[in-house]
């Protein structure tokens, strides 16, 4: 059995359509972020890890509803109550309360629940309390982590391939991250430390895919006559050659992630969703974003070179047509 043997899709020719698709998806995502700014006051649904606050997960006796809990907790600054996973499990979230010790909020919620009639016995299965200072620090650390991993991979690719490959792969990765963030904003998935880990994994995965394609382009360029070949044909050929691998790898990774999504439990569900999205986008972008970006960057480069060539007659303009490696 073999998929896509001798495939010869004209991917690069379709790049205009891909640009439109990407632009639409990006616009939806950015729109969602803007909408969030006006509706929930922040462009993302930051969780307690970043805003500070209290999360308590409790397991109640059967029959207790979230309405019961809301009534028990009451008050104007009432914490939010949502059902989590199993029927009798709930998550209670409360923001940071000024003039209150960080861990006092949790104690108060527990007291209110214990005192409320109609709730009965309950078990606190998880508590997360993050002070506002820690939250702000984590936010900064997450931003730094994403920035640094960007810079270092760019450096690495520039060193291993060439600067233009590095730029193109960063373009693709940026595209993937923006779409992922847009998705997170659209569905208001809670931004927690694991979600940030997932976004960083997407950076890694997306680069992984892009590198495999670029590796083939590099190899084909270095073959005899590779530099004389029309870049569009060469890039298309390279993508098609690695297409079986792309499909197979994405397929197996998705199989594992899907089993994680379905069976892995509620704790890592958001994490898995982000990863699945990342795999799909990463695969798409290695073909429809990274490779066209390489071509566009090269054409810009070529125009500049030609201009300067005119001033200096006799330079080896012909050799600059393709991407030098």
């Amino acid at each position: 059995m073999r998929f896509f043997k001798d495939a010869a899709f004209k991917f690069i020719d379709k790049r205009q359509k891909a640009y439109v698709v990407s632009a639409v998806v990006l616009t939806i995502g950015i729109g969602a972020m803007l909408f969030n700014v006006f509706s929930i006051g922040n462009w993302m649904n930051y969780g307690v890890d970043f805003t500070g606050g209290t999360v308590i997960q409790i397991q109640t006796e059967p029959g207790v509803t979230d309405a019961d809990l809301r009534e028990a907790l009451g008050g104007p600054q009432a914490p939010s109550v949502t059902r989590f996973g199993a029927d009798d499990e709930f998550i209670i979230r409360a923001p940071v309360v000024a003039d209150m010790e960080t861990d006092q909020v949790a104690a108060e919620i527990r007291q209110l629940l214990a005192a409320a009639p109609g709730i009965g016995e309950f078990e606190v299965v998880r508590t997360e309390i993050v002070g506002p200072v820690i939250g702000a620090e984590l936010q900064q650390q997450a931003a730094l982590a994403i920035l640094f991993s960007f810079l270092l991979t760019l450096l690495y690719i520039a060193f291993r391939f060439e600067f233009r490959f590095g730029l193109a792969s960063i373009a693709a990765t940026l595209h993937d991250i923006l779409i992922t963030l847009g998705f997170l904003a659209l569905f208001r998935i809670e931004i927690s430390l694991p979600t940030v880990a997932a976004v960083l994994t997407i950076i890694g995965y997306s680069l992984n895919d892009t590198i495999v394609v670029f590796d083939r382009i590099r190899e084909n360029l270095n073959k005899k006559g590779g530099r004389r070949e029309e870049p569009v044909t060469l890039i298309d050929r390279s993508i098609n050659e690695v297409l079986p691998r792309t499909v197979m790898t994405s397929g197996t990774t998705l199989v594992v992630l899907l089993s994680l999504l379905i069976l892995g439990g509620a704790v890592i569900r958001d994490f898995t969703i982000v990863l699945i999205l990342g795999v799909v986008i990463g695969t798409y972008s290695s073909i429809f974003v990274a490779s066209p970006a390489l071509l566009e960057i090269q054409r810009r480069w070529e125009k500049k070179e030609k201009k300067s060539d005119r001033k200096k007659p006799g330079s080896r303009a012909r050799d600059k047509r393709a991407i030098p490696v």
Binding site: Q57, E128, I134, A145, T201, E219, G264, I268, F271
Partner: protein, 545 residues
């Protein structure tokens, strides 16, 4: 020798044996999110910022030692108590069932002091000034609103205090007469309309004893808040301090908090304590803590109690008076603290923290994460099931697609799983929920490396190369892509490790170990198996791929 088939098999067996040995002898360490437990981040509580960075760092060092000895007595297995940065402490306790009690034990300052009880009359003269200071600081209207609030419970005090009153501005009339006192710089100007307000002294009742006032339990939070105002602290006479009793006291059907007038300087503190133990008072069967002082402490205690027979001495724990017995005779190195209505467990905990010593400064909880043991077990079970089923599906796909070659890859992946688990144990890494996700993801990457190689071999075979050459070329050409892909992911994992905390670090660690293991498996193990497979094949034979 590493490139001959026999040499390769030896290397693989050696690595497998090492990992197997680690797996057999050492339990894999589970994160708090998997086995249940508590993770605390503590910081020196210093809201005024009076401590220098060195002082904070030093205080955390000492707090680390003291908390360690407290936790050791608690009997928690392998606690993690670690200083992070300059002024923070991480405490991780696995498998505790009463987190509130553990937190109390860790966070309690346990500063024990002995002070002489003075007389109410020493503050009586200052009370009018204190009242004025409160009015000046908070404004007359908010204090009146407070009075209403006492009759209408349910409204939060903060709201009433700070949510109302345009009158909180200082009055404009500067000709207000002040009592002749030393601290004239304190702004005590009070508008005429508020002249009759006596916010604090209205709450203070005369106690049966000369050394204490009584405050009704319902007034206690307000009285305490008044006394904590910096403006008030500044005008309390220098020789004394005002401190509340730690528990309410019932007198004739009404409960009160006693407010003691104490000598400001403690004549003895808990660092002179040699030992402490919980016991029951033989007379009233109440829990007590018996203590023994060091030799120097005993001398000083005997000296002071000898001079003050008939007076009261207050025993103060974390700025609250625990008891204030009358000295009947000179007391030496041994004594006891009566704990009123406490339980025996509370007495034991108090003895424990007193033995371990006081924290150099109060600590504040910055972050707390607690996971119950049942939730952790659920996560393990679900993660395991998801992993096994995911792996099984990958096995099906690989064998269905690559046939015998796929079987080789699966054999190599089995080696991979042993390697990763062994590596986790060997490095003492902790498995967390995101860590399991990282493991499963790295399995995907290990499969990818194999796929890259096999697809390449197929391409080489398509071009009509002989089996052996195709295999060599396949591994050779796939190398650059595998190296580059793995290194970029490694970069991300390392950065995650650097910036992440707790669970995210766990993810970074498993991902890093996974990438290294997948690198070794794909390029060395799979290749070895392949070499064994094609060993006897002739150039014209085919491979099952």
């Amino acid at each position: 020798m590493f490139s001959s088939i026999r040499g390769r098999i030896l290397v693989i067996l050696a690595v497998l044996g090492l990992c197997g040995w680690y797996l057999a002898t050492t339990q894999i360490k589970l994160g708090l999110d998997l086995q249940g437990g508590m993770h605390l981040v503590l910081e020196i509580d210093d809201p005024e910022g009076t401590m220098s960075m060195e002082a904070r760092s030093d205080a955390i060092d000492r707090a680390e030692r003291i908390i360690r000895s407290r936790v050791d007595e608690l009997g928690v297995e392998e606690p993690l108590i670690q200083k992070v940065g300059q002024d923070r402490l991480i405490v991780e306790l696995a498998g505790i069932d009463d987190e509130e009690r553990a937190k109390e034990l860790i966070g309690q300052t346990a500063l024990l002091e002995w002070k002489l009880v003075r007389s109410r009359t020493e503050v009586d003269a200052s009370l009018p000034r204190i009242d004025r200071a409160i009015v000046a600081a908070l404004g007359g209207d908010s204090i009146r609103a407070l009075g209403r609030a006492m009759e209408a419970p349910g409204e939060s005090m903060e709201d009433l205090l700070f949510g109302t009153g345009p009158d909180t501005l200082p009055p404009e009339d500067p000709e207000e007469e002040l009592e002749e006192q030393e601290e004239l710089e304190v702004d005590l100007e009070v508008p005429e309309a508020d002249e009759d307000l006596r916010p604090l002294s209205a709450l203070l009742l005369q106690g049966p004893d000369q050394g204490e006032f009584l405050v009704r339990t319902e007034d206690y939070p307000i009285a305490r808040m008044f006394l904590e105002l910096p403006e008030v602290q500044a005008i309390i006479p220098r020789a004394v301090s005002l401190q509340f009793e730690w528990q309410p006291r019932a007198v004739a059907g009404q409960t009160y908090r006693a407010l003691y007038v104490l000598q400001r300087e403690a004549f003895l503190t808990g660092d002179m304590l040699e030992d402490a133990s919980a016991n029951r008072d033989p007379q009233f069967n109440q829990p007590i803590v018996q203590f023994e002082l060091t030799r120097a402490g005993g001398r000083r205690f005997g000296d002071v109690t000898g001079r003050h027979v008939g007076d009261r001495i207050a025993i103060i724990l974390d700025r609250e008076v625990v008891s204030a017995p009358v000295v009947r005779s000179r007391i030496g190195a041994r004594g006891q603290i009566e704990l009123g209505g406490s339980t025996m467990e509370e007495a034991r905990d108090l003895a424990l923290v007193l033995r371990a010593g006081a924290l150099p400064a109060p600590l504040r909880v910055m972050e707390e994460r607690t996971v119950g043991p049942s939730l952790g077990q659920d996560s393990i079970d679900q993660g395991r099931l998801a992993g096994i089923i995911g792996l099984f599906l990958v096995v099906l796909v690989m064998i269905g697609y690559y046939k015998l070659t796929g079987v080789l890859a699966i054999a190599a992946l089995s080696v991979y799983v042993v390697l990763v688990m062994g590596g986790l144990v060997a490095l003492g890494a902790t498995l967390t929920v995101p860590g399991i996700a990282g493991l499963i993801l790295s399995i995907g990457m290990a499969v990818d490396a194999n796929v890259l190689i096999f697809e390449r071999i197929r391409e080489e075979l398509d071009q009509g190369r002989a089996v052996r050459t195709a295999v060599d070329e396949g591994f050779g050409h796939a190398l650059s892509a595998i190296v580059d892909a793995n290194i970029t992911t490694l970069i991300t994992a390392l950065i995650l490790f650097q910036f992440g905390t707790g669970p995210v670090r766990g993810f970074a660690v498993t991902l890093t170990i996974g990438i290294i293991a997948s690198f070794f498996t794909a390029l060395y193990v799979t290749r070895t198996f392949y070499l064994i497979y094609i060993r006897n094949k002739k150039a014209t034979d085919t491979v099952s791929i």
